[in-house]
Symmetry: C2
Subunit: 147 residues, 2 copies
């Protein structure tokens, strides 16, 4: 299933002239198979078994490389670590303000917002980010139980 996406991603790496080291391959594969937009530390801990000598810096290095090529996007939040998203298809996020969980959802891309912003601000716009904040179902139930 995700084999195809992995092959495509590796092709992109090759085209960009970036070496495919075992660590880099592992980070990429983990991200592609993860549904939860993991943090750098989560990736690090997940790969510890396979690469006992790998350092956190390597995870960050590779995330930066993958970001530069456009295979990965970084999502930043107020108090917590960045999360990394390998889903290249256009999508938006719903973020639980209680537990931090991120859920993808799809919506017709808001291209007209980008063009309006270009007109109004004079920016040369490359992309946009749209996130909806609230309480996920699980946390809603916890809140109800408290009463």
């Amino acid at each position: 299933m995700s084999e195809k996406r992995l092959r495509q991603a590796i092709d992109t790496l090759k085209e960009s002239g970036v070496r495919i080291t075992p660590q880099r391959h592992a980070v990429l594969e983990y991200l592609l198979n993860s549904m939860v937009h993991p943090t750098a530390d989560e990736i690090y801990k997940a790969l510890e078994g396979k690469f006992p000598n790998m350092s956190v810096a390597t995870v960050y290095n590779n995330l930066r490389v993958l970001k530069e090529i456009g295979l990965v996007r970084e999502l930043t939040y107020g108090d917590a670590s960045s999360r990394f998203d390998c889903n290249t298809s256009e999508h938006y996020h719903a973020i639980c303000e209680s537990c931090g969980k991120i859920v993808d959802f799809h919506y017709p891309p808001l291209d007209e917002v980008e063009s309006l912003a270009e007109q109004v601000t004079g920016f040369d716009v490359s992309h946009h980010r749209m996130e909806v904040y609230g309480t996920c179902e699980a946390c809603q139930q916890v809140a109800t139980q408290k009463h």
Copy 2:
């Protein structure tokens, strides 16, 4: 001009039972008069002259209080410090990927995105955030000069 906004904000503070200390007043006033969404450190430095003994923690404390009351919103970004936004009217941001500048722009509130997200994800949605990334006019010119 912004006198009215300041008075309204102070009323909100009073209603919330929060004391209006000189430091808190100064942070609020500075934010209201700023157009650039300053960082905590920028606020701290700007108020150093008036309050030589003020500590950074006080700035953070007050920003947290103002956030809790809903007078201020925190904007977070990947590599940089959070920025604080006192503009309570619904608006979106254009962010320059080169110099970090943030420019406000207006667009009809995307309420339908929130309701779609509620349906699809089961979240209880409270608000959304929408940002457009690109290169501001000034940085576009710098880029052209390089050639």
